[in-house]
């Protein structure tokens, strides 16, 4: 499964400063291939997360196209596109993103619940075991530390065995030990055949990646 962005741009209207229009992403071309971990770095506000949202089918590009195995993602209506995202893409959003009304295990099984897809308890428990928080499966998210919540988000993103994993700063504000745990998990996922995009500020991440990209002022360049 290959996710490919072709010359995608996203411009926004800005009410302040001199120009009314600014480009968060300008003419970016990128392909995520199975079995590889792609690292995307850049300063805050450089357009990394915007590019990830464009790739995830969450933000329509103003120019260019995003293809998932030849399917133009934005030619689809929101419903089918959302379903495709659910079944083929694993997304780890920024920050702490567990649903407070669900237990840790229910949070992991949540992607399957969206469309009533089979995601057995055993799969959830296995993933929690892999990320090292199995004993917390019945806990409320409020009882988890920041690092544990990030690991929960990774387990949740992998629940439906996606072909592509998009991780937006999964190690932000984590200590060194948790950072290494998370990066190792992502590396292992790539080794198991997933196409992984890692948006990060973490210097240490470079050592885990196969390819390195950099965003600067919305422009994507390969290092």
């Amino acid at each position: 499964m290959v996710l490919r962005a072709e010359n995608v741009s996203r411009r926004f209207l800005r009410q302040r400063k001199g120009s009314n229009v600014f480009y968060a992403v300008r003419g970016a071309t990128l392909a995520l291939a199975p079995g590889s971990l792609t690292e995307l770095t850049g300063r805050s506000g450089s357009g990394k997360s915007t590019l990830l949202n464009l790739l995830a089918g969450l933000l329509e590009p103003t120019e260019g196209k995003v293809f998932l195995d030849g399917t133009d993602l934005y030619a689809l209506e929101d419903g089918p596109r959302s379903r495709l995202r659910n079944q083929t893409l694993g997304v780890i959003p920024q920050g702490q993103t567990a649903l407070g009304a669900l237990t840790v295990l229910e949070n992991v099984l949540l992607p399957g619940l969206l469309y009533g897809l089979p995601c057995p308890r055993e799969r959830g428990e296995e993933l929690l075991d892999q990320v090292g928080i199995a004993p917390l499966k019945n806990a409320c998210p409020t009882e988890l530390s920041g690092g544990e919540l990030r690991r929960l988000a990774i387990a949740r993103a992998l629940a439906l065995r996606p072909g592509i994993l998009l991780a937006d700063e999964p190690t932000g504000d984590l200590d060194d030990e948790n950072t290494r745990t998370v990066l190792s998990l992502l590396r292992r996922s790539a080794d198991e055949g997933l196409a992984v995009l890692l948006v990060t500020h973490e210097r240490e991440a470079a050592g885990y990646a196969d390819r390195h990209y950099r965003m600067d002022g919305g422009v994507l360049t390969e290092d």
Binding site: R83, L89, Q94, T97, D168
Partner: protein, 401 residues
């Protein structure tokens, strides 16, 4: 199992106090619309029943009846009352141009003393001349009303032996009338000879109700039917001019005062219901707007995980529907618990005829209230649901990161 069935319930359970407040608010919607509708309908039914039971175009009573408490209050509230005039006035009324038929009635109030089974209003009528009582008596009793026979209103309890005693006069209950929602439901009907016998017995027991009129030649009221081509108001005026010591009232005028009271009470009920709805809808809308704002990040997470915009809307709407349906069920049940057992108290407090619609109609109103309140609750979340579906998930997650 799908998300729309699981997540709204879990979210509601997570904040029990807030959920309870929202359910209570929704309950007010159903309670007000169900209770209000049943009350307004009961009042309208009561008026219709009053109208049909009155059965006369004009009612003439002795002038002193106006000071003893109006004829309307005797009929509407079942307040026992007695007033008498000489039968010669009946004959004078019959002689007025435009009077097609006139039926005398004789009123006697029983007492709570040992000589009477229950204190009620007893209405005596002459089966030969009556045209107001017998049409609806026949609905329940086709036989002849003999001496000592009585027909009782729906609110009176019929003893096992089927007899009631008034002024030591034992009477056989031959029928019980249907409900009217008026004071007539506690009245007892009998023929003239029975009621006069009771009156004589009352005299011998020391109750001197008649001082200046011979009981055998006394009447309490005259029910008048106007001949075709005559105006009831004009005939009423003629009676008042030509028959002294008598106060005639056109039934339409009597009914219009009742109808006026009913309109005022109905208007107040409708206003109260509208106020409750506007307030509750506003509070529910604000509450759902706050909920959606508070959970904006959770909705963004769901979107990232693959929820469509419609799915996010449905989740919030499902939550609103659960809350409003639960509230509506509680509210409708509470309204039923108030309206059914306290119907009599409501009627007495409003001093208007009050007749509950048939059970089928009440159930239909209950179902409609349930549906309406549920839809209203869900609609109050519609704007928030739409906003939730339009949010930019990426931006929200970055803001809340």
């Amino acid at each position: 199992m799908k998300l729309e069935r699981v997540l709204p319930m879990k979210n509601l359970r997570r904040k029990p106090a807030r959920t309870a407040a929202l359910v209570l608010l929704s309950a007010f919607l159903a309670l007000s619309v169900f209770g209000g509708s049943v009350m307004v309908l009961s009042l309208r039914n009561g008026l219709k029943s009053y109208e049909s039971r009155l059965g006369a175009d004009i009612v003439a009573v002795p002038y002193q009846a106006r000071t003893k408490g109006s004829f309307e209050s005797i009929l509407l509230q079942g307040i026992p009352g007695m007033f008498y005039m000489d039968e010669k006035y009946y004959n004078k009324i019959c002689a007025i141009d435009g009077v097609e038929a006139a039926a005398p009635q004789f009123y006697l109030a029983s007492t709570s003393a040992g000589c009477c089974s229950v204190p009620v209003q007893i209405i005596g009528f002459d089966p030969e001349r009556d045209f107001t009582v017998q049409p609806w008596v026949r609905e329940r009793y086709a036989g002849e009303l003999g001496d000592g026979d009585i027909i009782v209103g729906s609110e009176l309890t019929v003893p096992k032996d089927g007899t009631l005693t008034f002024y030591d006069t034992p009477c056989r209950i031959v029928a019980q009338l249907g409900k009217t929602g008026t004071g007539l439901d506690t009245a007892v009907y009998t023929n003239m000879s029975t009621i006069k016998a009771m009156m004589r017995s009352a005299e011998s027991l020391g109750f001197h109700y008649l001082t200046d009129v011979d009981p055998d030649h006394a009447v309490s009221a005259v029910m008048i039917r106007v001949a075709e081509g005559y105006d009831a108001e004009a005939v009423t005026g003629d009676i008042n001019v030509h028959v002294r010591h008598v106060e005639a009232s056109a039934a339409a005028a009597m009914l219009s005062s009742v109808a006026g009271g009913l309109r005022s009470v109905s208007g107040v009920i409708v206003l109260l219901v509208a106020a409750v709805w506007v307030l509750a809808a506003a509070v529910l809308s604000i509450a759902f707007a706050l909920i959606s704002h508070e959970r904006a990040k959770e909705f963004a997470v769901l979107r990232v995980l693959g929820a469509s915009r419609n799915m996010l809307s449905r989740l919030l709407l499902a939550e609103a529907a659960i809350v409003s349906f639960s509230g509506a069920a509680i509210g409708a049940s509470a309204a039923a618990l108030i309206v059914f057992p306290f119907g009599k108290a409501i009627s007495a407090a409003m001093e208007l005829p009050y007749l509950m619609p048939p059970l089928g109609t009440v159930l239909a109103i209950g179902a409609a209230s349930l549906l309406l309140s549920t839809v209203a609750g869900a609609l109050s979340a519609a704007l928030s649901a739409w906003r939730v579906s339009r949010n930019d998930a990426g931006l929200l997650l970055r803001e809340g990161a």
